[in-house]
Amino acid sequence: MVPTSYYLVLSAILFGLGIVAFVFKRNIITIFMSIELMLNAVNLAFVAFSRALGRPDGEVFVLFVIVVAAAEAAVGLGIIILTARNRRSLNVERVDLLKL
């Protein structure tokens, strides 16, 4: 049997990697992917907990998370397409009008 903490630690590691990607990637799409990665890490934690505590709520939450992620992806990618169209670049560091 695999101890639950293994799963949790794994999810923590994945989350950390997601953060690293979130900070260090320049491509909007990749950054978006890193967000998805973090969501996945969280899902793993959810499932692990639900199995450990023997209650299905966790998995229900995972399903909700997935749904939300899908919606997010739809809208987010729409925005990305728009940005790419207008600014001719996917590099977030080139999209920096949001400043004084």
């Binding site: 900070v23 320049r26 950054i31 977030v92 560091e93 920096d96 949001l98 400043k99 004084l100």
Partner: protein, 651 residues
């Protein structure tokens, strides 16, 4: 008792009139504004009469003042309640009738006098507002509510003095009146606080009931009551233009003449006297304070009269005469003859209103000019005004059987009987009486006799319209008959007025009926002689072709009012201005306050300059900030778990 139960109607009506005129009147026709203003005052006058009738009935039953609490205003803690309480007793009755009656007449007069003025509706709105506050003042059943009226009338007088606010002199006069009154009010408030601290209430009935039981402060020694009385009297000097705070009243003549008549002769300026009379219980417990009142009143009476001798502005003359008459009233109060004081107050209200209105009529006739040296020979042209003015003059001079004869007589008599030093007061008062009759007849001669000193072609003199002359005649009749309440006293009968007021001031002490009567006869004869002498001197000096000569010496001193204004300017105003400009403005305001404000602004922008670098617009940096925030939250939430010793934590 419909009105008595709803006393608030009486002040409310003028307030409504004021509000309606003030808010809507600007678009309305003069006649509509008139109907509102006169309607409100007239109805409140009628209501006042009805209320008086009802009160008299009420008094027959209960033998006490009528007090009704309408609603709570301030309830600080259990033993501090200041409500909207109205009260009626004999004193109030007198004031009420005077205020509403004379006020109504003057309203009528104003409709004619102000007919051609700008801001017609504004004038009447202010006037009604004044009526409201004045009624509050006289009806109030506690000092706080009274103070509301007190301040309110001050405000209205400010507004009305500065009615021609485009004229700088008018605006300044308004400010002067306001500021000088502030000084008095400061004292008044201190007095109130002291009283509250002492008696834990400011309701007249309870307060006076408590005070009556106290032992009077001994002569020349300053107890709490004395100090309180002096402070109240300070307020009174401010409002009623006594030394040293009388300086605003002459300048107040910048306002329209009806205002001078109503506010600065008949009603408002007598508020001080009213307050002193109202708190007579306190004053009788503070002999030294009484003494101060008497002296100041007497001094003012004489002092103002001397200034009045030489003034050339017809309204200024009347203004100084007002000051001196107020002095008489305070003298009366000072010597304990409150009834006489109020009596004189009433008669003075009649004849001084009459005089002012007549003067207004004269000014109206000669087209806005107020300098007596450019009048003369108006007797033929404006007969009604002439006769009215003459009545007023005789009345104020104190000839039998006109009003002032009785009232002034009573005052001088009381002064004469007063111990100690009553004789001195009497003599000074008598001199003042002589001066009074002199300058009044001087006014008559300069104005109505001799040949015209104005340019006949420019100025075409004309009698005033009815709505001005009718009030004049009514007031003339009142000035003639106003004193006859006391007529029987002359023939050993009783003084009805004093008797009417006796429930308030206690029974008048007739010092030995027949001896007093004989003494009174002598004194009144002396007074008549004084008045006659004044008349004679005036006739001697002015019943010929006169020119405004080069004023020198004493005349110059008097003409410049003893340089009091200049003295104040030098002693008080100048230093104050200097302080304000060099310390308060340059240092405190510009330096400290603005410095702080600007400093804050600069600090903010400085911080912004530093902090704005976080707003790089670079998404990755923002991401880092997000992570920092997340880390902080983690720390807050999960720290307890890392240290199991700490109880709790989030799971």
């Amino acid at each position: 008792m419909p009105i008595l139960e709803n006393l608030w109607i009486i002040p409310l009506l003028p307030l409504l009139g004021s509000a309606i005129n003030g808010l809507l009147g600007s678009k309305w026709s003069k006649s509509l504004v008139n109907s509102v203003a006169l309607g409100s005052t007239g109805i409140s006058f009628v209501c006042a009469i009805e209320a008086v009738r009802e009160f008299l009935g009420y008094y027959e039953e209960h033998h006490q003042a009528f007090v009704k609490q309408f609603f709570d205003w301030i309830v600080a803690y259990n033993d501090a309640r200041f409500g909207f309480d109205l009260q009626i007793d004999q004193l109030t009755v007198v004031m009420l009738l005077v205020v509403t009656g004379v006020g109504f007449l003057i309203h009528i007069y104003s409709t004619g006098y102000m007919a051609h003025e700008e801001g017609y509706y504004r004038f009447f709105s202010y006037l009604n507002l004044f009526m409201f506050f004045m009624l509050i003042l006289v009806l109030a059943a506690n000092y706080v509510l009274l103070f509301v009226g007190w301040e309110g009338v001050g405000l209205c007088s400010y507004l009305l003095i500065g009615f021609y606010f485009l004229r700088k002199s008018a605006a300044d006069a308004g400010k002067k009146a306001f500021i000088v009154n502030r000084i008095g009010d400061f004292g008044f408030m201190l007095g109130m606080f002291l009283l509250f601290r002492t008696f834990h209430t400011l309701d007249f009935t309870t307060l006076f009931a408590q005070a009556a039981t106290l032992p009077p402060d001994a002569m020349g020694q300053f107890g709490t009551i004395t100090i309180a009385c002096l402070l109240l009297f300070m307020g009174a000097t401010g409002k009623s233009a006594q030394i040293p705070l009388y300086v605003w009243l002459p300048d107040a003549m910048e306002g329209p003449t009806p205002v001078s008549a109503l506010i600065h002769a008949a009603t408002m300026v007598t508020a001080g006297v009213y307050v002193v009379a109202r708190s007579h219980v306190l004053f009788t417990h503070a002999p030294s304070a009484m003494y101060v009142v008497a002296i100041i009143g007497c001094a003012t009476a004489f002092f103002a009269a001397t200034i009045g001798l030489v003034q050339s502005d017809i309204k200024k003359v009347l203004a100084y005469s007002t000051v001196s008459q107020l002095g008489y009233m305070f003298l009366a109060c000072g010597v304990g003859a409150f009834g006489a004081g109020i009596f004189h107050l009433m008669t003075h209200a009649f004849f001084k209103a009459l005089l002012f209105l007549s003067a207004g009529s004269v000014i109206h006739a000669v087209g806005g000019n107020q300098d007596m040296w450019t009048m003369g020979g108006l007797k033929k042209k404006i007969k009604i005004t002439y006769w009215c003015m003459l009545f007023g003059t005789i009345a104020i001079a104190g000839f039998f059987p006109f009003a002032a004869f009785f009232s002034k007589d009573a005052i001088l008599f009381a002064a004469f009987n007063h111990e100690p030093a009553g004789k001195v007061l009497y003599v000074v008062g008598l001199l003042a009486a002589v001066l009074t009759s002199f300058y009044m007849f001087r006014l008559i001669w300069l104005t109505f006799y001799g040949e015209a000193r104005y340019d006949e072609h420019k100025v075409h003199v004309h009698e005033s319209p009815f709505n001005m002359t009718v009030p004049l005649m009514i007031l003339a009749v009142l000035a003639l008959t106003g004193g006859w309440f006391a007529l029987p006293a002359l023939f050993g009968g009783k003084d009805y007025f004093a008797e009417f007021l006796s429930p308030v001031f206690g029974a008048v002490t007739e010092a030995g009926a027949e001896s007093a009567a004989s003494l009174e006869h002598i004194l009144s004869g002396v007074a008549m002689l004084a008045a006659a002498s004044g008349l004679a001197v005036a006739w001697r000096m002015y019943n010929k072709k006169v020119e405004q000569g080069q004023s020198t010496g004493l005349h110059k001193l008097l003409y410049n009012k003893y340089y009091v204004d200049e003295a104040y300017q030098a002693v008080v105003v100048g230093p104050l201005m200097w302080l304000s400009r060099n310390i308060l403005w340059k240092v405190v305001d510009a330096g400290i306050i603005d410095g702080t404000v600007n400093g804050v602004a600069h600090g903010a922008s400085g911080i912004g300059d530093v902090v704005r670098h976080t707003q790089s617009g670079n998404t990755r940096s923002y991401a880092v900030w997000v992570i920092v925030g997340a880390l902080v939250i983690f720390g807050i939430v999960f720290w307890p778990l890392l240290h199991p010793t700490v109880v709790g934590g989030v799971r």
